[in-house]
């Protein structure tokens, strides 16, 4: 079976600053991969490279067996199949919750309005947001907004979901709601790649954890290994700082 995403020797720099350096990564269908590491280690940039929000400086990215790092590839074709949720929600403030969720299905995927709305309502219902569909995003709490952003990404039925520190901007008491939603998705077999600082969550849900340091994947493996018995000294240092006790 071809892996869903295959990254080889990925390199990305902003001017002289190298953000990603010789990154190799393989994501199979139904994988849930957590990227951990301090801020500035390149987690977000890696996610942004995967749906072609960033132009890469070297290496190859394959999606479903096809090279998407080729300049001739139309980025929109890739983005149609990949969903992304941002740290700061990035909902459209001028559209209602339902309109946020149906925009792409209707305009990009050509789904008829009634069908798009029905699918969006089902998902909103499932994530406990049914009563807010007519409201505008700024009326909602941070946790609710982030769950709307998650639903918006899911409405296009993506084959891969990229989650960029989606709980980092939330109050601690709201983090749980959002993570519970992601947990449900993982249980349903959604393929996900997420940058996160939630180690407990990574331990429970991830099929694999990657530790990034200065733009490199320093080590990767099953969570019980990377989080409990890391091989690298840098990983141990990082975990000592973020794990309580």
């Amino acid at each position: 079976m071809t892996p869903l995403v295959q990254v080889e020797g990925l390199r990305k720099s902003y001017g002289d600053r190298v953000v990603l350096d010789d990154v190799d990564l393989c994501v199979d269908k139904h994988d849930v991969i957590c990227l951990i590491g301090s801020s500035g280690s390149g987690k977000s940039t890696l996610l942004r490279c995967l749906n072609l929000l960033e132009e890469i400086d070297d290496g190859v990215i394959r999606f479903d067996g096809r090279e998407i790092s080729d300049p001739r590839v139309e980025p929109r074709e890739v983005r149609k199949r990949v969903g992304m949720v941002f740290q700061a929600y990035n909902l459209f403030p001028h559209l209602s919750v339902l309109e946020n969720c149906t925009l792409s299905p209707r305009r990009v995927h050509g789904v008829p309005r009634a069908e798009a709305e029905q699918r969006a309502r089902e998902l909103l219902e499932r994530f406990g947001l049914a009563e807010h569909e007519t409201q505008h995003p700024d009326r909602l709490s941070g946790g609710q907004q982030q769950r709307v952003a998650l639903v918006r990404a899911l409405c296009t039925q993506p084959e891969l979901l990229l989650l960029d520190e989606i709980t980092a901007a939330l109050d601690p008491e709201l983090v749980g709601d959002v993570l519970a939603s992601v947990r449900d998705l993982a249980a349903a077999g959604t393929t996900m790649l997420l940058a996160t600082h939630e180690m407990a969550f990574a331990r429970d849900v991830a099929t694999r954890v990657c530790f990034l340091d200065q733009g490199r994947i320093l080590e990767q493996g099953p969570p019980e290994q990377v989080l409990a018995e890391p091989r690298e000294e840098r990983t141990r240092q990082f975990l000592r700082r973020v794990l309580p006790g």
């Binding site: 020797g9 942004r48 070297d58 290496g59 080729d70």
Partner: protein, 278 residues
């Protein structure tokens, strides 16, 4: 050293870029070419060319137009400063919350409503001919003076609204933190809100000034010998419209640098405010 594949990719990106440049330039040439051909092949082209693009007439009218244009530039420079002062003062008056200043607030509202609603050319006509006609002692009778006043009043109202929208766009949390630091409302405006607002509205303000540069041509309606008046004068005697084209070129030469400056400032502001946001 980039890999073989990356070098190949860069070559490909260059080719793709080159192709877009090629498409753009070909289209540009085609469109401009079609327009020129359409113009030149029109039945009246020869006559049109003689009345609008006559080189001898352009040369003959040039000195008078250049003299007149200096008047436009002076008017612009003087008005610009006064408009900024009037505009900011009116915007602040509209923002005043103290009960003592209520009459001032009302006055500001009436002023903006009135002067933004009246066409500038009417203001110039009414003030330029009306005020000297009063025959009051000490009231200037110069058309230049009253046309300037009309421009300041008209543009002051526009600029006041630009400033006001800038002031209102500053997030209330800025006022809260100024309050929390013990600043008075006037101090908060002076040191916190207005500096941020001015930076934010600089691009639309410059846009208004580009417009003002052109509207200095309105003084010609009250017989001030500016560039447009000079051109009209020449046209009336020689039955040739080339001087109008000359005046247009003068104004374009003046507005283009300001327009570029506006673009540049706008970009700067955007980059500053969105630094790091992706």
């Amino acid at each position: 050293m980039p890999s073989e594949r990356e070098q190949e990719r860069r070559r490909l990106r260059r080719t793709l870029r080159l192709r877009s440049v090629l498409i753009a330039s070909t289209l540009m040439v085609a469109v401009v070419g079609a327009l020129v051909v359409g113009l030149v092949s029109s039945p009246g082209w020869e006559r049109f060319r003689q009345t609008f693009f006559s080189w001898p007439d352009a040369r003959a009218s040039f000195p008078a137009i250049a003299d007149g244009f200096w008047l436009n530039v002076q008017l612009f420079m003087i008005c610009e400063v006064l408009i900024l002062v009037v505009g900011l003062a009116v915007a602040l008056a509209r923002q005043a919350r103290s009960p003592w200043l209520a009459p001032l607030r009302l006055l500001a509202v009436v002023y903006v409503d009135l002067f933004r609603g009246v066409p500038t050319v009417l203001l110039v006509l009414m003030l330029g001919f009306g005020m000297p006609a009063l025959g009051l002692q000490g009231v200037p009778i110069s058309g230049f003076f009253w046309a300037g006043v009309a421009l300041v009043l008209s543009y002051g109202a526009y600029v006041a609204e630009v400033f006001r929208s800038g002031i209102e766009s500053i997030h209330p949390s800025q006022l809260s933190s100024a309050d929390a630091l013990g600043l008075s409302r006037a101090q908060a405006m002076r040191f916190v809100v207005v500096p941020q607002a001015v930076r934010r509205v600089a691009p639309p303000l410059l846009n208004d000034f580009v417009s003002l540069q052109k509207d200095t041509a309105l003084v010609s309606v009250v017989a001030v010998f500016d560039a447009v008046f000079a051109a009209r004068d020449y046209t009336a005697f020689n039955f040739n419209f080339t001087p109008y084209v000359v005046v247009a070129l003068f104004f374009i030469a003046l507005t283009i640098p300001l327009a570029r400056a506006t673009d540049w400032l706008g970009r700067q502001a955007l980059e500053r405010e969105r630094a790091g946001a992706r």
